[in-house]
Subunit: 250 residues, 2 copies
């Protein structure tokens, strides 16, 4: 019995600048049945504020506090452990960390920096890591779908810096169980009563399964034929899109 739902955003609810077909209907149906939901995203090319603003402009009714973003999880971790960050993030996400940066950084924060993934920036991050800084990353996602094709996400750059230094990154967004559980605790449900719906088999589906939840892989966004073969445990199903995933519930 599913009592709460976690939704991925990019590739599941929207793609580029448009909501995916059926997304609004699916979400309205969850609201109508009083099934609480939260959004859980590793997207890090926008701050939470501008992301919610953009989703509203597309026609989605969404509250900022319902959105759990990986950059926010990184921010919480920095505060909890009193790290001073050095940012390798998209310029639009810098505002999330503006009050935390300082002269003597001891943590490299890696998001989906897009064009800010220059050789000079990667090398600067590498040298900080060699000097003992920790590597904190929004996620280990491999890629995501954009209008003109698949694009590299943060994960490959995490892999590059881990390989170069021999260090291991701390992943704070999906598939970190702590990230899933932070959202779950707000829903007032136990993990096994939660369904996570997303288009990334590793980050969304396997992450949720490892956090003790149910999961549905949607064949939208970055989905590629055969992705379902990478599902790591029982308890997951595969649907055409978000609407089909929700129809099974309500």
């Amino acid at each position: 019995m599913i009592k709460g739902v976690l939704l991925d955003l990019s590739g599941t609810v929207y793609l580029d600048d448009e909501l995916l077909p059926g997304a609004v209907v699916a979400i309205e149906r969850l609201h109508a049945r009083h099934i609480p939901l939260r959004y859980l995203t590793n997207t890090s090319r926008r701050s939470r504020r501008t992301m919610v603003k953009k989703l509203r402009s597309m026609g989605l009714s969404i509250a900022e506090e319902d959105v759990f973003t990986a950059p926010r999880a990184v921010r919480d971790y920095l505060l909890e452990h009193q790290f001073t960050p050095w940012l390798l993030v998209h310029p639009e996400v810098e505002e999330e960390f503006a009050d935390l940066v300082g002269e003597e950084p001891d943590a490299v924060v890696l998001g989906d920096a897009a064009n800010a993934f220059s050789y000079a920036n990667l090398n600067a991050a590498f040298r900080l890591l060699l000097d003992g800084a920790r590597l904190l990353a929004v996620g280990d996602n491999r890629y995501f779908r954009e209008r003109d094709g698949m694009s590299l996400d943060a994960g490959p750059f995490v892999a590059a810096l881990e390989y170069a230094t021999g260090c291991q990154a701390i992943i704070l967004g999906k598939p970190s169980p702590a990230f899933f559980h932070a959202a779950t605790s707000e829903l007032g449900c136990r993990p096994q009563e939660i369904l996570m719906i997303g288009d990334d088999v590793l980050s969304d589906v396997n992450g949720a399964l490892k956090a003790g939840m149910k999961a549905t892989l949607v064949r939208t966004g970055k989905y590629r034929l055969g992705d379902e073969q990478q599902i790591c445990a029982p308890g997951a199903c595969v649907c055409a899109d978000l609407l089909e995933a929700v129809e099974g519930l309500v």
Copy 2:
């Protein structure tokens, strides 16, 4: 009994724009004792032609045909397998492949591209690999020493693209046994009669050991305290520099 020597270049014979102390004396001593030698380098920020020109300007007596470069090994592989390359290499190395590029690339050639490792270029490489192109790399070196500190080499970018795509790169420079053996065959010796001298414990030392050779790690260039603990097999020793490594021989 050592009958032939293979020398790494960057960090072993020279650093930035200068020969390392004792390098000329060490090499002259090998010549005086008629111990044949070849140079084996994964450096891919220059063509072989300009690299040899630069080494001569520093004062090293060196013949172009004595230098085995990883880009040349990639070129040989492309020709042998009739691949059309798409280049993710340093602009100065493009001349090595100028006659091979074409409209429908089916191999991504990855060198130490330095500032050409932009997000746009990495993404273009990624999309070609998703479409089935092979990934050919000069090496899997993690980093090398520059005047102002350590800098990322090609290896981390190989790791990034392997992680993103799930494919495995074909490494054509060190530590590929084929690369060591190509140089060895010119020396007219058996692998166990060859000594490889270099500053990279994984690429130079472990690569040579796995190719059946002896190896010496020099504590110059990228060497960091503790690197010797990564030596993978017996048959290697550690020396302060190239001169000390050669003094043990002659």
